[in-house]
Symmetry: D3
Subunit: 220 residues, 6 copies
């Protein structure tokens, strides 16, 4: 992972045949981690910009590992930087939605889209931020099974409808959020987080992006 | 749980309104467990037959707890006994399918049907039987993301098609299982386990059946 | 059908090719019955247990024929006995639902799942039990076309929703049954009959189970 | 049905409430026939044109009754005549498709669209023209369960795809019909009969058109 | 186009392979028009009847061109005449629906069915009849985005439901049209225009019918 | 649009009732433009950052107008800047996909999602960049009707599958792109553009974003 020897996100071309012959080995230790390679595209990693070098360091320091999505984008600095900027604004900047609520949307959307990467990563985030491991599991499995407040139920109903049938979202749907106490700006944010994970889920599916195995055991 | 004081599976009538006002309480300890009541129907528990008394004892001894599905059926002995007999035959009797494979089908079907109860309970079983926590998570989230052998991929493809569009299952689908090495009897068993969880998923959804919280942390 | 010479449910392996070349012969008499073989799996029939021998005799006496589903399961006594026990409890034991209502659910579910076996067999049952041949046809074709009481319409709406999208069944759906006059136990039974035919439909589709031709002309 | 006293197809305005309270009366004789009124719209019948008077007479003579669809259109002569002209050309004029094949398409399309009127009327026609009552039932229930020739299977596969997802029909689909032996003109006719029943199914659903009860018992 | 030398609607057999190799040529002028051939079936054109000769002349005079759908049907006079009679009655005869409203239904239905021919031809008609080019575009793209009157919104909601799920249309849906001010006859007409375009869309898809290029630039 | 008097994107709260009473006025001139207000959320516009002031000026200079999506995001500079950075990288930076190809993906995705804003804006872009107005219309209506090269057909097939059912995208789908000549990096870019418009479509639907009317007449 130095500038001189760029690690490849994937050492050889992915072929359908190769995947099909990879067996489940339930008795023996796996030969390689679930996230090796991180994606099913063979893209040489680029040199990190100064900003991204700092950001990766900060992630590693804060989380103890580097989320694979960042490694996946690291073949191209402008793409990585644009993704990071949008992610940080949506998920971390001030908003009428709590950080937990934004993660709840991420998981409900990813559950509809059955996105392995995002369910693993953001399911862990809901477990951590809520201190309620069951809540994370419920939204991964079926958010309707969670015992949510009316506010949060309205929020996830909107997010899932916007994910499943965006062409049917109308004034009535926005009015339901207003009735649940959300402001105009909150509605934008619910829409924006929903939209962002509809993008991210598809990047993960397009590339068979694998989550860091560490997520699975977090905050259980 | 004596004959004199039958425990109710649900102390009061379920109403949509009541559920909507139950808040997510992320900072405080929950007032009651996720599985209290076990189902959203108010059915008084019946006296256990001798056979079921023995069976419940055996479960408790082996698992350390009594699966809620058994408590849910315990309002009527013939229903409980019929369910237990079918479950035990399908999941535990000799078969060309390993017990792990039967649990993998249970989870893949329950994932399609987004069944909270069965994903929690059988997701734990896949994690335990495989010794591979990630495999359990992958099948809960999207079985296509798991790195399966061709045999197990063919098995789950058949199970999910039979779940989603049973009217389209034809000779070609059975021939694909034969080509993957399954016998005539194996094909029956794949069909039967798939069919059984399509039943169980719907019992759980019809009654809002809640899994024992203990499942969530098992074999992570 | 003796222990020494077990009849096979299917004389030769099913192949997609073989089926494709079997012509519609509209002018000549068919060479074999529609239900020969009964299923598309080659499973040797087992010796009947005493209980099943008695049960088959009773069926034959009461109906004048043996339903093919029983023959299909007769390769394995524990599976046959578990199926028979569950079927008899659900469809024949005392319940707040009449036997006709339970058959109406069976047909509405099987219509959604487009299950040839169950539509033939249970469509005949609705015609017989109701004394109204049109009612049987309407539920086979589209239950919304039948002129049902509000109670029965609510019952079938719940059954079809639970069949089509079990993940969306919530307290509101149970409350709609309560408002239509159903008790807590009735709701369990509606759910259980619906769930059972979601299982049976899939066993029939998984195995290409063929109904006894006699059903088609019954009670017209 | 004279010019002076036009019979109404429906004596009073249809209301949702009225329908909901019409009970299933399984023990008593129904007060009115299933097809009274014929449609759920209150349209006064027009005077028949000479051509239609002759046509209705011919229908009655040939069939012994007047199909309700003709009565339904009889509020307006140009609409009735246009419908009759198109129907007769498609279903009765010379074609590379037999009359039975055209009726098979009608039923397969109507099954996809769950159209009560057309399944009753054209199901009867398949039973009659084929002399094979089971064939009619199978196509009503699930055409994939019928043991069809490759030619007829290809024909119904095209018809059902064109019904379900017309936007996905492409050269490959037409080529599959050519490979099954159909001529260019045959492909037009398969498309045209499929398209016509997609129209007729929707007229029946839009108006709650009721089939003549006589169809149900024909050719069983 | 004389009787002696019938023009073919398509000079050579359509093959999937041929279509796949036809490149997008963005820089050079296209070799042939988008509507050459008009359909993907090789059907020799028949001699026009006197009535159709007159009708084609009238079309050409009024529109300045002959709609390709008429050319497509011109291989067989009875089919052409039946189509023309039904089209003219539905779209041009007196009705409680304005001609614009009938075209709006045509476009909303064709948008659901993603029918290239009908969207091009009837999208142009909505632009022309409304004098509002945006209205045409909105209904092509998503009628819910158009700022419609309650009457027209109810009309298109009914048309799209009847297109998408005809089996779910019931008294409630007709009552919603009555509440929006439509008469019994209007409801027939809304149903009939919707049904007709469900037919036409499928004829266009079955044959890969190509719209006259002139439509695209009309009334922008 | 000065710092002192921030223009509101929407002068009054959107209500479902208000929209429903806005009539189609086909004879009179509309009172307000289709894009007034731009979105159905009442968000005060923020002061533009220097970078965005320059960017807006450049847009206006190059296009002659400011795309409404930029005005919609202009209530918050970090959100606007993140969107602009990602858009410019994806749609304008060097790539193995031509700018036209990227716009073709945008339109095919937006057609699946029936997004009025993006179909209007990017449909115009395809017409302009291709010099082929019909190509733009075809992809808006049904990309399968366009006569595409195998490369571009494979590209849009992948984009539409990733939009419709991202959970089913697997190695086979990536291999189909490789077989059509796309590089590993090209596959990333196809995925990324598809993913981005799945985000943008949902932002537009969540907010009822209206396209600048100028798009509709461009490059016809």
């Amino acid at each position: 992972m130095t500038k001189k020897q760029p690690a490849r996100t994937r050492p050889a071309k992915s072929t359908a045949a190769a995947k099909k012959t990879a067996p489940v080995t339930s008795s023996a230790a796996p030969q390689r981690a679930d996230d090796d390679p991180i994606i099913a595209l063979d893209l040489p990693r680029a040199a990190l910009s100064e900003a991204m070098k700092a950001y990766f360091g900060k992630c590693d320091e804060k989380l103890g590992f580097l989320p694979n999505v960042l490694q996946a984008y690291a073949f191209d600095m402008p793409k990585l930087e644009a993704f990071v900027a949008m992610y940080n604004d949506l998920m971390l900047a001030p908003s009428g939605l709590s950080k937990l609520e934004r993660e709840m949307i991420a998981v409900a959307v990813s559950s509809y889209n059955r996105c392995y990467y995002c369910l693993a990563a953001h399911g862990a985030a809901v477990r951590q931020l809520s201190g309620d491991p069951l809540l994370g599991e419920q939204i991964v499995m079926n958010y309707r099974a969670a015992r949510l407040s009316p506010r949060q139920r309205a929020m996830l109903d909107f997010a899932v409808k916007l994910t499943a049938e965006p062409w049917k979202v109308e004034d009535e749907d926005r009015d339901a959020l207003r009735a649940a106490g959300f402001s105009e700006r909150d509605i934008w944010d619910i829409g924006a987080v929903t939209a962002f994970y509809n993008m991210s889920n598809r990047m993960a599916s397009a590339t068979d992006m694998r989550p860091n195995p560490v997520y699975h055991a977090q905050a259980r």
